[in-house]
Amino acid sequence: MPADAVSSGRLVDHFEAGLDAPICLTWELTYACNLACIHCLSSSGRRDPRELTTAECFGVIDELQAMQVFYVNIGGGEPTVRRDFWEILDYATTHDVGVKFSTNGSRITAENAARLAASDYVDVQISLDGASASVNDAIRGPGSFVTATEALERWAEAGMRSFKISVVVTRTNVDQLDEFEALADRFGAQLRLTRLRPSGRGADVWEELHPTAPQQRQLYDWLLPRGDKVLTGDSFFHLAAYGQPLPGLNLCGAGRVVCLIDPIGDVYACPFAIHEAFRAGNIRTTGGFTAVWRTSELFQDLRRPQTGGACASCSHFDSCRGGCMAAKFFTGLPLDGPDPECVLGNGESLLSKLPDRAVPRPSADHSRRTPRRPISPCEPSPLAGFEVTL
């Protein structure tokens, strides 16, 4: 997000105090998903019977239009499994609300690719967590690499430009950054890297999968020369403490300039914080989303000046601003303390000093109780290697 010249005060201060409407927000349309990624932020799998109806979704879009929210990041679960997905998409774009949506690619056809290519108001991204099938499929499930790359091919063939390949950086794929870049170039796509959060099922794998301290430095050194050619969704602002900040706002926008609407209409401070402690309200209550955004106690509180706690005296506090609230919360660290991935190692040392800390669990878990059957019969079984022969 480039800032323009002509300044009156620091933009960051305005944003930290909150805006009357979010700049953008994440909207998870369903908890249903045909994959079962081990790090899923929203612990998705099964549809929730309370999910918003088509009419309720249209109502949300009407509100976003009135608030002049430029675009929504639609995700899930897998949003395209909703039967009314394309209808919701059309409703948004004809009501001045742009859509960016994330998909695993399993429902991308030549037909809907052509439809997407024709619209300026829709931006799409495919999730991929490895530049090779072995690395990707270990996280996203067997067959998911092939599914994703086939969808990328369809988009490229349909003449789509500037779609994204979205990668959650992990210990197992951080050495593949050049390969990801080459893959994006091959399809004329843009690469987007985001941070692994210990949220949802991510909490179960964070210890083993989050980049090590040297890997974080490696990531930073790789990102810095690429500037805004590689998108990061502002997700690595904790790395700013290495020196020069990466492009972006470099602040936590939770409840201030961004938020999450979940499939059942609950509004959370950010997509990485699906927990009662960060739930501001529900769009089904009087006043709808607008009232939740403008008057909820939680959001009011997040918009008040925050104390840096243990970090306030650190000379790097102005660059990292204490890091990610959700990452602290779900690793059991105090919210005014260091980020678990603090580049100075303060998070790590605090984690080791608090071995018995209470780690909160996400409030909503829609994981499937039994592992999923293969996506299609010819793909290798996701149960391969785990089957019990009697």
Binding site: P2, A3, A5, L11
Partner: protein, 93 residues
């Protein structure tokens, strides 16, 4: 495209503007870029572009002083570089 203050400019039709206490947010649906207009005066300049024959006239209309003019021209140049404002062919002289 090089920005020239003596020429006619306008907002790209795919740009939406949202006024804010600090200035405004501008979002380009074609490039999916978000920009920040950091003063209300810059917002007034951008809004005046359509009506005014040149960018310079739009600055004057919005109350930009001679002293402020270089900074505002630089801001418009930034907006032109990212395609937020484009040359206005219809009003071009």
């Amino acid at each position: 495209m090089a920005f020239q203050a003596e020429q006619a400019w306008r907002l790209d039709r795919r740009v939406a503007i949202r006024p804010e206490p600090f200035g405004a947010l501008a979002y380009h649906f074609g490039t999916r870029q978000l920009s920040f207009l950091k003063t209300r005066k810059l917002l007034a300049v951008v809004q005046a572009l359509d009506e005014q024959p040149t960018a310079l006239a739009a600055c004057r209309e919005a109350g930009v002083t001679e002293q402020e003019l270089p900074a505002y021209c630089r801001a418009l140049e930034t907006l032109a570089r990212s395609g937020m404002v484009v040359e206005d062919a219809i009003h071009a002289r």
